[in-house]
């Protein structure tokens, strides 16, 4: 490895110039496609750089506003989700929930760990495209049950066992796309839950089988409420593409909560081209969604949960400041419970990857025992330890969020507001609809 001229990339030598257009990753992908004749499938969310919460800064209090004492004064974090129509809304201690991830994509112990960690912190976890497992229900104090297009494992008993129901229209990694679980992960148990033969590739539909469009969705939601006697909050999850319209239509259809997932949001497996080129960044999705809620007079009444690339308390604080009521995390939670752990580096190397890079989650060979249905691999995973680590991570994220909120003078994290934010770039200013730092300029709007 050369370090000359600051270039530390492996293989670089004097006189070599890498193309910005045909860089090594691009060349490698063309060569791979030419060899294999099929698109690349991987897990995770968009890896490309997109305008993000990192492009925003919070304005701490000074003369015009006063801060709250970091170690003394209260800064509440609890949130109620779904009190618009449901008899039993979710009452969470923290505004960070665990996003939907399927048993099938994840091992049963990994789902258990998510439940353990979330429950310890008083927040919810969410099923995925594979139904509800006893491990998950048993270890999740508050569990959101997803109604997906595939309807794998869907049944009224689990609907009633759930604490909320999430109608999944799309997800940020692949809005407009269905799912895929390759045969390697269709174990006997997964196959039985999904009513499929063992070992075949399983396709999850991209559209619901029994409704099309917002008018149908309204009736579908009514049916779900009837089946569950109007007890459960109904969430509608959309991948971020046209958030203004999608959020407005979800509200019109009767959603209690809208979950908005930006393009950085992860998936267990989808085409790389889909992950990187469809949908919009989380940052860009929030303001139009909030605008729709405000115009309909339901901001804070229909709660907005934002997901896609949330990593730390700064991301949470900024999402809340833009108008979200809570956030949801997926990839970060998996990393917290042990995904891509550096102590497994040798084992990642054996399957052609490295810790920090492993994303072939669909292959079922995860040495961490998280993205697998192989009993031996899954047995390596310690659900109790994973749960503790998730709780530690969530605790840290919440403390960070409170630290930032107090600095902005807020006694409740949801009291953060757009006026607490500025942008570092013109793009982020335009997307987040906050001023470019040091100016009063919000591109695309009148100066405020």
């Amino acid at each position: 490895m050369s370090t000359e001229n600051g270039n530390t990339r492996p293989g670089w030598r004097d006189g070599l110039r890498e193309s910005a257009t045909f860089d090594r990753a691009t060349i490698h992908e063309i060569q791979r496609a030419a060899r294999e004749g099929i698109y690349d499938i991987r897990g995770g969310g968009a890896k490309r750089h997109v305008p993000s919460f990192d492009d925003l800064l919070l304005l701490g209090a000074s003369v015009s506003r006063y801060p709250l004492e970091g170690y003394r004064e209260r800064c509440d974090t609890d949130v109620v989700l779904g009190d618009r129509h449901a008899k039993k809304p979710l009452e969470l201690d923290i505004p960070v929930t665990i996003a939907g991830m399927s048993f099938g994509a994840l091992s049963a112990p990994a789902k258990e760990a998510l439940g353990r960690g979330a429950s310890e912190m008083g927040t919810s976890t969410t099923t995925g495209d594979g139904g509800m497992t006893p491990e998950e229900r048993g270890h999740s104090e508050t569990l959101v049950y997803q109604l997906l297009p595939s309807r794998y494992g869907m049944n009224p008993d689990d609907l009633r066992r759930a604490d909320a129901i999430e109608v999944v229209v799309g997800q940020g990694a692949k809005p407009g796309g269905g799912g895929m679980l390759l045969g390697q992960k269709i174990s006997d148990r997964v196959a039985e839950m999904r009513d499929l033969p063992t070992g075949i590739d399983q396709r999850s539909a991209c559209r619901h089988p029994d409704w099309t469009g917002p008018d149908d969705l309204e009736i579908k939601i009514e049916e779900l409420r009837e089946i569950t006697d109007w007890e459960k909050p109904i969430f509608v999850k959309v991948g971020a593409t046209r958030p203004y319209y999608d959020v407005a239509l979800a509200v019109k259809a009767g959603a209690d909560v809208v979950v908005l997932d930006g393009m950085q949001g992860g998936t267990a497996a989808t085409q790389e081209v889909f992950i990187e080129h469809v949908g919009i960044p989380t940052l860009a999705a929030i303001p139009p969604a909030v605008q729709a809620l405000i115009e309909l007079g339901v901001h804070r009444k229909v709660q907005l949960v934002v997901s896609g690339g949330i990593r730390n308390g700064a991301d949470v604080a900024k999402a809340l400041a833009l108008g979200a009521d809570a956030v949801s995390i997926g990839v970060a939670a998996l990393v917290a419970i042990g995904d891509n752990a550096p102590e497994l580096d040798d084992e990642y190397a054996k399957i052609g990857s490295a810790s920090g890079f492993y994303d072939d989650w669909h292959e079922g060979r995860d040495p961490a025992g998280i993205f697998t249905q192989d009993d031996d691999l899954a047995a390596r995973f310690d659900a109790e330890l994973g749960g503790r680590r998730l709780a530690n991570y969530l605790r840290t994220v919440v403390l960070e969020t409170q630290t930032l909120a107090r600095a902005c003078g807020k006694s409740r994290v949801q009291n953060l507001e757009p006026e607490d934010l500025v942008a570092l770039t013109v793009e982020a200013a335009a997307m987040a609809r906050v001023p470019l730092a040091g100016t009063n300029w919000i591109p695309g709007t009148e100066a405020r």
Partner: protein
């Protein structure tokens, strides 16, 4: 499986009149009931009537219903004396739902168990995503029926529309009339004795006496698309 029509010699049914009650009040009453015969009056196309039942009830609905009638039904027997809207008996788990008239799209969608009988015709996507339920249609069914159907059986005494059984898994389809076209990976299959036998049972359960199993053809998965192969990409 009990018969389609409530037994006239049994205890008298209790009437629930939707001109007086809301759908919520109706369903709340049916959810609380543990057994008995119930008659739903004046449904006038309302949605989600008798959705989410989970008891040995016999429910007769006197007229047309809207979307998702008898959705996710368990154990109950529901008879609709009229036509029904989208998604009748969607995700049915068990029990029996019988429609005297026609059914709109997505009848029996993703049904896991039990029996849906449609004495008229069913529109597009009948039995879409089927997961183990049985559907018997006296008339014809529309296009894209049994799309991605995984388990269960669909019996059609009339004709089937285009793209029947597209991307079908292990569900079995029996059609007496013409099939406008088969979807990806769906093929005609041999009628073996066990198929004639199960078809006779299904027809009998549905109360259809004027159709003979030997008049039907069987369709199912060629299983060529079960594991993705780039050479099959043109098939989708």
């Amino acid at each position: 499986m009990s018969g389609a029509a409530p037994d006239s010699t049994a205890a008298p049914s209790r009437a629930l009149d939707l001109s007086q009650l809301s759908v919520r009040e109706l369903n709340a009453a049916l959810h609380e009931a543990e057994d008995g015969r119930w008659e739903v009056l004046d449904p006038v196309g309302k949605h989600a009537i008798a959705a989410g039942l989970d008891a040995e009830l016999e429910v007769e609905i006197a007229g047309n219903v809207g979307y998702y009638c008898a959705g996710m039904n368990k154990r109950a027997t529901v008879r609709v004396k009229g036509n029904c809207g989208v998604g009748v008996a969607e995700n049915i788990m068990s029990g029996k739902v019988a429609i005297e008239g026609d059914a709109s799209q997505a009848a029996g969608a993703s049904g896991h168990g039990g029996l849906l009988v449609i004495e008229g015709n069913a529109a597009a996507r009948c039995g879409i995503s089927l997961k183990g339920a049985d559907i018997v249609v006296r008339g014809s069914i529309g296009h894209m029926s049994a799309f991605m159907a995984q388990r269960g059986r669909i019996v059609v005494c009339g004709d089937a529309g285009a793209a029947l059984g597209d991307s079908i898994y292990e569900a079995r389809i029996y059609v007496r009339g013409e099939v406008a076209g088969l979807g990806a990976d769906c093929v005609a299959k041999e009628m073996r004795p066990e198929h004639l036998e199960e078809l006779a049972e299904l027809l009998a359960e549905a109360g259809i006496e004027d159709a003979q199993p030997a008049e039907f053809s069987r369709y199912g998965s060629a299983r060529r698309l079960y594991n993705f192969n780039v050479d099959d990409a043109g098939e989708y």
